[in-house]
């Protein structure tokens, strides 16, 4: 069966697209600069931050749609750079700038759209969470752990562990830290402890059996082991020690030329 293709127009340019693609995927392939904050290729589209808005034009008029989530269909006419689109993104950026006035990521993105100040009041000038949900989704959708989630509603919405107590299920993998676009989630390794500060959770770091260095939490190690059917050799070593042990072992393999081991 041949793959279904749809012909669409983006900013006047014709584009051939495949069924199931999103506008964002097509736009990026075409080299168009569409900003995103809540989008991550490893996760399902979420369509919440609204900075990726583009305009879909049809007989009924122009509608702003989130390009990260909007599926292509035959004959779609899309604008990614019109005055309407820019204005829609500007309003969103003004609002985000009021929420997180000190976030560099937000300030830079806003400045790109000519928004250097916001007419709206900031409740908490130190706020850096934009509620994009990437951390929550990485933890739940990708890792299947769901240590964190949303609580409250509307402007009071926040991300955290249940009742903001130390999480029993967090494995301290730090995926949330990695995917957070604004650097809101804080973590620090101190001695034998990983502190997931934003989640009020502390985890024990496992020691490498060779060098004693601590880079993974015990829980994360167990989580990874639990996913594997067999036990991997050297899974209690840090990558550096694993490398050196491998090198050492390889050095003991007899060479083709002679059959004595190197000294």
């Amino acid at each position: 069966m041949t793959e279904e293709t749809f012909h669409i127009t983006i900013d006047g340019e014709a584009a051939e697209t495949r069924k199931g693609e999103t506008l964002l995927e097509v736009c990026r392939r075409m080299g168009k600069d569409i900003p995103t904050l809540c989008h991550h290729a490893a996760m399902e589209p979420y369509a919440a931050c609204r900075v990726c808005l583009v305009a879909v034009v049809d007989a009924r008029g122009t509608a702003m749609v989130p390009s990260c989530q909007y599926p292509v269909s035959e004959g779609l006419v899309v604008e990614t750079d019109s005055a309407d689109v820019k204005e829609a993104r500007q309003v969103v950026l003004e609002l985000l700038l009021a929420r997180c006035p000190r976030s560099d990521v937000i300030r830079e993105l806003a400045a790109k759209y000519g928004v250097t100040e916001t007419p709206y009041v900031s409740d908490d000038p130190d706020q850096t969470c934009i509620l994009c949900g990437l951390c929550v989704r990485a933890c739940e959708e990708v890792l299947g752990i769901a240590a964190i989630g949303f609580s409250d509603r509307g402007i009071e919405r926040k991300v955290g562990t249940p009742f903001e107590e130390a999480s029993e299920v967090c494995i301290g993998c730090g995926a949330c830290v990695t995917v957070c676009p604004t650097g809101h989630i804080l973590t620090v390794d101190e001695d034998i402890t990983r502190k997931m500060e934003t989640w009020n959770t502390e985890l024990e770091l496992a020691a490498c059996e060779d060098c004693g260095r601590r880079i993974l939490t015990v829980k994360q190690l167990d989580h990874v082991r639990g996913k594997l059917a067999e036990q991997l050799p050297m899974d209690r070593l840090c990558p550096a020690c694993r490398r050196s042990r491998t090198a050492e072992r390889m050095s003991r393999i007899p060479t083709v030329a002679g059959d004595k081991s190197p000294t």
Binding site: P45, A47, A48, C49, R50, V51, L53, A63, M64, V65, P66, Q69, Y70, P71, D84, E87, A88, V91, V92, L95, L96, A98, R99, P119, Y120, V121, I130, L131, G133, G149, F150, D152, R153, G154, I155, E156, R157
Partner: protein, 623 residues
């Protein structure tokens, strides 16, 4: 009460036979006393009245000849507890416990009317005997809601005797699913929940999507402030909703349905659960309904009362046990809904219309209403209106007829100012549009919307900036917080409105409101956000001068915004009775005794209005 049916009904013929038996059994009763047991009348104590009637009928030996029927809501909530005595149609209102023996002795045992319980016309004081002659009812067309007064909602037998499940039998006796959809399409009915999407079209799309499993959902997450029509239909006629869902399920090819209802509606939950049990027992829910191949069953899913869960995708998430937040469309629920399966969602009132359309025909239905809005609509008429209650009117009726002919106008001789329709997603309609024919498109064109049918009437003492602020505050509380424009935008619109009401409005604030409104409308993720700015946009459209007076002159013309009012004594009217002096909490009033008129010290006055409310001579003005 008709004796419950014990056996299963396995064919249309058996149903017809059962109906005849039930109707014949009902003939033992010479009279029927239908007492409203809706939630409004419950608040007036109708439960005790119903119990008193039961005891009194027994005492006077009438329980074999007079049927006492506790019913759902009759609509005229302003006048509860209500009762109608059939077949004469005598309408009693504001019945108290002590009236019960007299009503039984005079009107039920005899044919005498208890004059003082009749409705009196407010102007002429003339009494009206029959329900259908009371102006509140006379101008209505109660197709969906009328049955509420004719059946006990907890009795499937009464529903059947009234003609219930006949539409289902008709559909299952030879109509193809396509024919059912064609009939619903031809009727022109549009969704009563808010959007006004053609119901038949929705069914057609869902039927056309391939899938081994499809779901039917009844959206009973009614959440607009002041709206309670869906509640009253579920409470008063739950079987009509089930019958509609059964027909819809057959049409789209579904065998499982959900009713999503808020826990704050305990009576609605109770009555629908009773109805489901009865329908299962008799065989209208379950396998091989009426002896055919069609099977269908329903679950009740209770929501925790989040307004956003009325939005289809959030509702689906909530039924699935996830956080009730919307997700972007497309895909639409018809393609990918509950548990990823094609799902057809309609609201309570839409479902309740379906049996009528199928039994009386699309031609009959499409004969009612306007060109693009067919049938009737139930509105909840609340606010500054004499006859608070639920009214069902044909589409195309004017607002003037609803407010004045049915609603009886504005209390206390005040002047009509505007009506808010469509709840927090809707907008206001000003006096100059009182002759607007009410239908989906006319309301949208006027900047309001049909919504689920809330109608809040406002008089000249209502401040439109304050109204907008009220709705934005509601939406701020109810926004789920997922998308930026709705979460942050509504918060900021509310802050601007609060500032304006507090007398701190700035020159650019109105432009800021406009810009934010446009940004939220265009950029929000779901229907809640897309329509959230409507209360502000419509009040700005029709009452911009009122906003400007707040911002520029720092004055609230309606005298509502506390920071912007001045209370003064009109010396000519002041009788120096001293009452205002006594109630003033800040001792701001001097004089007011020994024939010296009272005087308010503006420095000390905190605008609490205690003097204004207390003055018996209207000598205190608010400007």
């Amino acid at each position: 009460m008709i004796a419950p049916v014990a056996t299963k009904v396995t064919s249309a013929a058996e149903l017809a036979e059962l109906r005849e038996t039930l109707v014949a059994a009902g003939k033992q009763y010479v009279k029927t006393l239908a007492v409203c047991g809706g939630t409004g009348c419950q608040a007036y104590g109708c439960q005790q009245v119903i119990e008193a009637f039961a005891a009194e009928l027994k005492k006077q030996g009438l329980d074999d000849t007079v049927r006492l029927r506790p019913t759902g809501c009759h609509g005229f909530c302003e006048r509860g507890p209500l009762a109608v005595i059939q077949p004469a149609g005598i309408f009693y209102q504001q019945i108290q416990l002590e009236d019960v023996p007299e009503v039984v002795a005079k009107t039920l045992a005899g044919d005498e009317v208890v004059e003082r319980l009749l409705y009196k016309l407010p102007d002429t004081k003339e009494t009206i005997e029959k329900e259908h002659d009371v102006p509140f009812y006379a101008h209505q067309q109660r197709l969906v809601f009328g049955a509420n007064g004719m059946i006990d909602p907890t009795s499937i037998e009464e529903y059947i005797a009234y003609g219930g499940y006949a539409a289902l039998a008709k559909v299952l006796s030879g109509m193809s699913p396509e024919a059912v959809i064609a009939e619903v399409l031809a009727s022109g009915i549009r969704g009563r929940g808010g959007g006004g999407f053609p119901t038949g079209k929705k069914w057609e799309i869902c039927r056309g999507v391939p899938g081994d499993r499809k779901y039917i959902v009844c959206n009973a997450d009614e959440g607009d402030p002041g709206a309670y029509m869906d509640r009253s239909i579920l409470e008063g006629n739950p079987h009509s909703v089930l019958e509609g869902m059964l027909i819809g399920a057959y049409a789209v090819g579904s065998d499982e349905g959900y009713i999503y209802v808020r826990t704050e509606y305990p009576l609605a939950v109770k009555n629908i659960l009773v109805a489901i049990d009865q329908a299962r027992e008799i065989g209208f829910l379950g396998e091989n309904i009426l002896g055919g191949a069609f099977s269908f069953d329903v679950h009740v899913s209770r929501g925790a009362g989040a307004f956003v869960c009325g939005e289809e995708t959030a509702l689906i998430a909530s039924i699935e046990g996830r956080l009730g937040t919307p997700s972007a469309k497309p895909p639409y629920p018809a393609e990918k809904g509950l548990w990823g399966k094609p799902t057809n969602i309609n609201n309570v009132e839409t479902w309740a219309n379906i049996p009528l359309i199928l039994s009386r025909g699309s031609k009959w239905f499409s004969g009612i209403g306007t060109e693009n809005s067919k049938g009737t609509k139930v509105f909840s008429l609340v606010g500054k209106i004499n006859n608070t209650g639920l009214v069902e009117v044909p589409m195309g009726i004017t607002l003037r007829e609803i407010v004045y002919d049915i609603g009886g106008g504005i209390p206390d001789g005040r002047k009509f100012k505007a009506v808010q329709t469509g709840g927090p997603s809707g907008g206001v309609i000003p006096e100059e549009l009182l002759d607007l024919p009410i239908d989906f498109d006319a309301l949208t064109a006027a900047g309001a919307m049909m919504g689920s049918g809330g109608m809040i009437v406002m008089d000249d003492r209502t401040c439109m900036v304050d109204v907008a602020r009220y709705f934005m505050n509601f939406l701020r509380e109810e926004s789920c917080g997922k998308c930026t424009p709705c979460r942050e935008g509504i918060k900021n619109m509310l802050e601007i409105l609060t500032r304006i009401c507090d007398g701190k409005g700035e020159g650019e604030d109105l432009d800021r409101l406009q810009k934010l409104a446009a940004g939220i409308k265009a950029g929000a993720l779901c229907g809640l956000g897309n329509t959230a700015p409507n209360p502000v946009l419509s009040t700005l459209k029709y009452f911009r001068d009122e906003y400007e007076t707040h911002v520029k002159d720092k004055r609230c013309p309606a005298g509502v915004c506390t920071a912007l009012i001045t209370l003064e004594v009109v010396e000519d009217k002041c009788k120096a009775c001293g009452r205002c002096v006594k109630v003033c909490p800040t001792d701001a009033i001097s004089g007011g005794k020994k024939k010296v008129p009272a005087r308010i010290d503006q420095e000390k006055c905190i605008h609490c209005r205690a003097c204004f409310e207390t003055c018996p001579f209207d000598a205190i003005t608010i400007t």
